[in-house]
């Protein structure tokens, strides 16, 4: 007996239609899920990297995958590294390692843009990790809070493809290059001070020159200047860091090939006009001790300490005064300075920092002759008196500089060349005085 009403048939038909629609929708969603699983990048990565993928130099998804699969190690997380880190993390370099055991200081912040005031005292590599992780959650950041050395360099480098040398002394630069050559890694090496910067690619695919090919003999220690001693303009060093990121991308994207790569050195200068020069450089040197035909610098020689980078590069010798010729900042404060313990006109307080340093901050009523100018007087007392009227061979002179190094050279000079026997050096210099006696004075 047929009991179904027209109304019921209508309802069932409607239900069938609804189920059909739902089924189609589910099929579609399922296909999309399957499709996304098959995609080499997540939907979010497509939109994140879209603007660079549509530049034909990246070769689209293919290039993006090269970036994603690359492993880049930064030595240093300072002025060069900060912008390079930000751009390479932003570009989607899949694994980024950072070697740095320094902590963030206030004096870093004008150029080291991944760090911030709130991060002063924090490890630079951890501060950088925080910034980069929040910039791009799709990449892996590995921190190595150690100082790079003969002992740890091989183990750290082994996990990466490209090394970015963002360090600040020739000692580390030779180490980075030697280890990279031995492990067959490429190095993007840059440096800068004041308004200038330099950049080159080393050991390109094991055929290009290394650091020792360019610089077989290290510079004399007196010719080496760091950012903290020589000063640095933030955007100038930053621009060189940005250029490091560009060169690294070009290596990863295979823009450079064994056929087209020509050794070069980029030289940037920011002031007074900006300029970028591209110098054509020598290739790999057959006689190079690191990468040449009869190389001697192998893993064993480095790890055993036979290659001693400190001895190779040398260091400035400030050790030219005896303990009796020096006083601590506390002695200076209690016996001389505080409440005019010793009348100000009974001795000469000479600050030998460069004038532009002295002008930033100094003790009141002191004399300023930069060490270099003092050296130029060649021990001529008359010339010295034209600068400091009250000085003579019988004067008592107290010498100060920034950190207590150049003041030792100046003390030696005053005693031996000018004949001022009663000359004393203040240990640790003006900065030590600020740290231990009067933190109200500006330090720079």
């Amino acid at each position: 007996m047929i009991t179904t009403t027209t109304e019921e048939i209508f309802q069932l038909k409607k239900q069938i239609e609804e189920l059909k629609t739902e089924n189609a929708q589910l099929k579609k969603t399922n296909a999309e899920v399957q499709n996304e699983k098959a995609l080499p990048l997540s939907i979010s990565e497509y939109s994140r990297y879209g603007r660079q993928m549509i530049c034909d130099v990246t070769n689209g998804v293919k290039g993006q995958l090269k970036l994603k699969n690359s492993k880049v190690l930064f030595i240093g997380a300072g002025g060069l590294a900060c912008p390079a880190l930000a751009y390479l993390a932003g570009a989607g370099v899949g694994t980024i390692g950072i070697v740095d055991d320094d902590v963030v200081e206030n004096s870093n912040l004008h150029r080291q843009i991944l760090h911030s005031s709130a991060k002063v005292g924090m490890l630079k590599c951890e501060s950088a990790r925080e910034f980069l992780t929040s910039l791009n959650p799709h990449i892996k950041i590995v921190t190595h809070p150690v100082r790079l050395s003969n002992d740890n360099a091989f183990e750290i480098f082994a996990k990466y493809d490209i090394i970015l040398d963002c360090t600040d002394t020739p000692i580390t630069r030779y180490l980075v290059s030697d280890v990279a050559v031995n492990l067959g890694k490429m190095v993007v090496s840059a440096s800068g001070v004041q308004t200038e910067g330099q950049l080159c690619i080393l050991n390109f695919k094991n055929i290009g020159p290394c650091y020792r090919c360019f610089y077989p003999t290290p510079p004399p220690p007196h010719a080496v200047s760091s950012c903290s001693a020589g000063g640095v303009i933030g955007p100038c060093i930053g621009l060189v860091g940005v250029m490091m990121a560009i060169e690294t991308m070009k290596i990863i994207l295979d823009v450079y090939t064994i056929e087209n790569f020509k050794p070069f050195l980029l030289q940037y200068n920011g002031f007074p006009e900006q300029s970028l020069r591209n110098f054509k450089m020598r290739g790999r040197q057959a006689k190079c001790q690191s990468c040449g035909d009869t190389k001697t610098i192998d893993r064993t020689a480095i790890e055993s300490g036979k290659i001693n980078y400190f001895a190779f590069c040398g260091s400035k010798n400030y050790n030219v005064v005896s303990p009796e010729e020096r006083m601590t900042v506390h002695e200076f404060e209690t016996k001389y300075w505080n409440n005019n313990k010793k009348p100000r006109d009974s001795y000469v307080l000479l600050d030998v920092r460069p004038t532009h340093h002295y002008e930033i901050s100094h003790l009141a009523n002191t004399h300023n002759i930069a060490l270099k100018d003092l050296q130029n007087l060649k021990g001529d007392m008359t010339k010295l008196q034209s600068k400091i009227k009250s000085i003579s061979e019988t004067s008592e002179v107290v010498v100060m500089c920034r950190h207590g190094n150049e003041s030792r050279t100046a003390t030696r000079l005053l005693k031996d060349e000018f004949g001022v026997a009663n000359t004393k050096d203040v240990i640790g210099g003006f900065f030590k005085y600020v740290d231990e006696i009067n933190p109200q004075l500006p330090k720079y």
């Binding site: 020739p170 630069r173 290290p218 510079p219 050195l265 030289q267 110098f279 054509k280 270099k372």
Partner: protein, 103 residues
């Protein structure tokens, strides 16, 4: 015969050349002598362009350009063009740049 050159001191080396990066230099050839070489320019710079003799070791060590200074002939590493033996030509740009180490 003489050659007119542009000589540049980069990477902070200008500090010993009156803080001036670019200099015009004309070298005169001694009569009967062979062509002027880069070696002659280095000697000329050492003897005539460094005002303060204390600064000479900043530029010269063991009779040649000190380690850590790259010498370029028309933007090319001198190692690729005979180093000190390079024969100077009118209009050449010779650059000396100190290696930088800060980072």
């Amino acid at each position: 015969m003489s050659v007119a050159l542009t000589v540049e001191f980069l990477g902070g080396l200008d500090a010993i050349f009156q803080n001036q990066r670019k200099h015009k230099v004309t070298l005169d050839e001694a009569s009967g002598k062979e062509a002027l070489k880069l070696r002659d320019l280095i000697t000329y710079i050492t003897n005539n362009m460094i005002e303060n003799e204390n600064d000479i070791p900043v530029f010269i060590q063991d009779g040649t350009v000190r380690p850590g200074i790259l010498t370029l002939v028309n933007d090319t590493d001198w190692e690729l063009c005979d180093e000190e033996e390079y024969v100077l030509e009118n209009g050449d740009v010779i650059s000396f740049t100190s290696t930088l180490h800060g980072g």
